[in-house]
């Protein structure tokens, strides 16, 4: 089932990320100079200001460092409330805001290991695969 979602940010750089998702790959920018990963998509490295960045596929593994559940309907019904959001610290460093997949608020724990999964979604620009996180397989 395709889920309706609020709009992505699209354009140069952003499209590379989303195209990766459509192929089942979580790809983030990495600075060719200092090696720092970036998320969200940046124009230049936040660490060393270099503008030579290339997308690399990351492990998709991380741990939950925070979470919150939306009760107020900020998106006017596009997403049924309540729903959960999690902040995942990826192994490669960046913090990635996402949704828990196949587990809910009651099961979320500080530091729990998770791994990326992709679900079919649709926004006003069309269909896409959205990276979400499920409990990591032991």
């Amino acid at each position: 089932m395709v889920q309706k979602r609020p709009d992505r940010t699209l354009g140069p750089g952003h499209d590379t990320f989303w195209n990766g998702c459509d192929r089942g790959e979580l790809r983030l920018q990495r600075c060719t100079g200092c090696g720092t990963y970036a998320w969200p998509v940046v124009q230049k490295c936040e660490q060393c200001a270099a503008d030579d960045l290339e997308f690399q596929t990351v492990s998709g593994r991380g741990k939950v460092v925070s979470w919150c559940s939306f009760v107020q309907d900020y998106y006017r019904g596009i997403l049924p409330v309540p729903y959960d959001t999690i902040m995942v610290e990826l192994e490669e460093g960046p913090m990635f805001l996402s949704n828990p997949h196949e587990f809910g608020e009651n099961e979320i724990a500080f530091g729990m290991p998770v791994e990326v999964a992709f679900i079919a979604c649709e926004d006003s620009a069309g269909r896409f695969q959205l990276p979400v996180f499920r409990k990591a397989k032991v």
């Binding site: 979602r5 609020p6 992505r8 559940s69 107020q72 900020y74 596009i78 309540p82 902040m87 805001l97």
Partner: protein, 406 residues
């Protein structure tokens, strides 16, 4: 211009300390106007930002004891739209030689900018006007329609349903709970304390006392944040008249000297800095700049006003600047440390949680009253140094004020 631009704020420097002082204060009737906006009785006309601005200016001018002809500078901050400085000056009957439309909207940029202009001799007396008709224009916070000039954390995570100011604070608060083992009732103590302060301020929007039970029973907006963890939305205006220090004496009120300011921004890894570090590096850096410029120690600060977009945000300020250790803020509040007679009275007028949503200008207005020793039932005994700290999700701007001499 919803987001403050940093480029005009003068670099903190000792030689700029105490060059100008606040000599006039004017505000609109926050409490009365809020009641009227909710009641909407027949014939009710919603206010305009320009109309509110004019009221605040007239009151500030009267408060200062100055004449219109003394006002040779104007700085306007209409956060959600309004006339430019030249048009506003014309409608107020002013003929300033210094005009500023670029001071930024929320209250940290315009004050140092005005002090810098005065120090450079561009003018002697600036009317700084802030005005918003936030409620009357139906401004919403969060969701797909949020400003395109917002920092990316406000819109980038839309596909995951993550939006709004509240969500930022909710993530911070959840993480805080996990790290320090705090409870919802602990955070509720902040909402209760600030509401209590508001009940001592006749012009505060919220006048009804709040209990912990009320807090815990209130709805979640973004769980774990309750309704009472989040600031108000209301209309109003504040005008401050800032005057060259040597001209600030012999006026009706004790001048409030602008002694120091600082600025620090989050430049990388925003969500980690915000949620995990709780912007402590930025609070520390900007606070140090402001204190050094003012030549005072943190321990000299007897009254603190922090931008309280949420209760946990206020705790971030108090811990971030080092008034208490990281993780100790809620116990400090529960023990009465933030009360009027506490070790560090905080947001004595009710802040934006319970006072009035004037985006930091209300905090400075409260500092003016406190340092004049005109704060009535909520007066902090003998206060002579106050600190204002503005912080958004990616920047920190403190200002140090001192009670001047007449």
């Amino acid at each position: 211009m919803s987001y403050m631009s940093l480029f005009d704020v003068p670099t903190p420097a000792r030689e700029l300390a105490g060059k100008a002082a606040i000599v006039g204060l004017g505000e609109t009737d926050f409490h009365r106007d809020y009641q009227a906006a909710r009641a909407k009785t027949e014939g009710y006309e919603p206010p305009t930002a320009e109309g509110l601005a004019a009221t605040a200016f007239e009151r500030a001018l009267a408060d200062s004891g100055l004449e219109k002809s003394d006002i040779d500078g104007i700085s306007v901050s209409f956060l959600y739209g309004g006339p430019d400085a030249a048009s506003m000056a014309a409608s107020l009957g002013l003929t300033p030689r210094y005009l500023n439309d670029r001071g930024g909207g929320i209250c940290a940029g315009p004050i140092p900018v005005a002090c810098g202009a005065i120090a450079e001799g561009k003018c002697d007396t600036v009317a700084l006007i802030f005005s918003v008709a936030t409620r009357s224009i139906g401004r919403k916070f969060g969701g797909q329609k949020f400003d395109s000039d917002a920092p990316s954390s406000y819109y980038y995570h839309h596909p995951w349903g993550w939006s709004s100011q509240a969500a930022h604070w909710a993530m911070i608060w959840q993480h805080y709970q996990q790290v320090y083992g705090a409870s919802e009732a602990d955070l509720g103590s902040v909402a209760v304390q600030i509401r209590h302060n508001a009940t001592l301020n006749p012009n505060a929007v919220m006048q009804k006392p709040l209990t912990i039970e009320d807090y815990l029973a209130s709805r979640y907006v973004v769980k774990p944040l309750h309704l009472f963890d989040l600031c108000l939305v209301n209309d109003g205006a504040v005008c401050l008249i800032v005057r060259r220090a040597d001209l600030a004496r012999d006026l009706p009120h004790t001048p409030v000297s602008v002694e120091g300011w600082g600025r620090a921004s989050v430049t990388r890894d925003k969500m980690r800095t915000l949620v995990v570090d709780r912007m402590r590096p930025q609070y520390q850096e900007a606070g140090r700049q402001a204190l050094d410029m003012a030549g005072v120690a943190l321990a000299d600060v007897r009254h603190f006003e922090g931008y309280d977009a949420s209760t946990i945000h206020l705790i971030d300020h108090v811990e971030g600047h080092g008034f208490v250790d990281p993780g100790a803020g809620l116990e400090f509040c529960k023990g009465g440390g933030m009360a009027i007679d506490g070790a560090l009275p905080v947001n004595t007028g009710g802040g934006i949680l319970s006072g009035t949503y004037m985006h930091g200008w209300n905090h400075v207005a409260e500092i003016v009253r406190q340092l004049r020793h005109e704060a009535g039932a909520r007066q902090v005994d003998g206060v002579d140094v106050s600190m204002f700290s503005l912080a958004q999700t990616d920047q920190v701007h403190p200002i140090i004020f001192r009670r001047g001499e007449r």
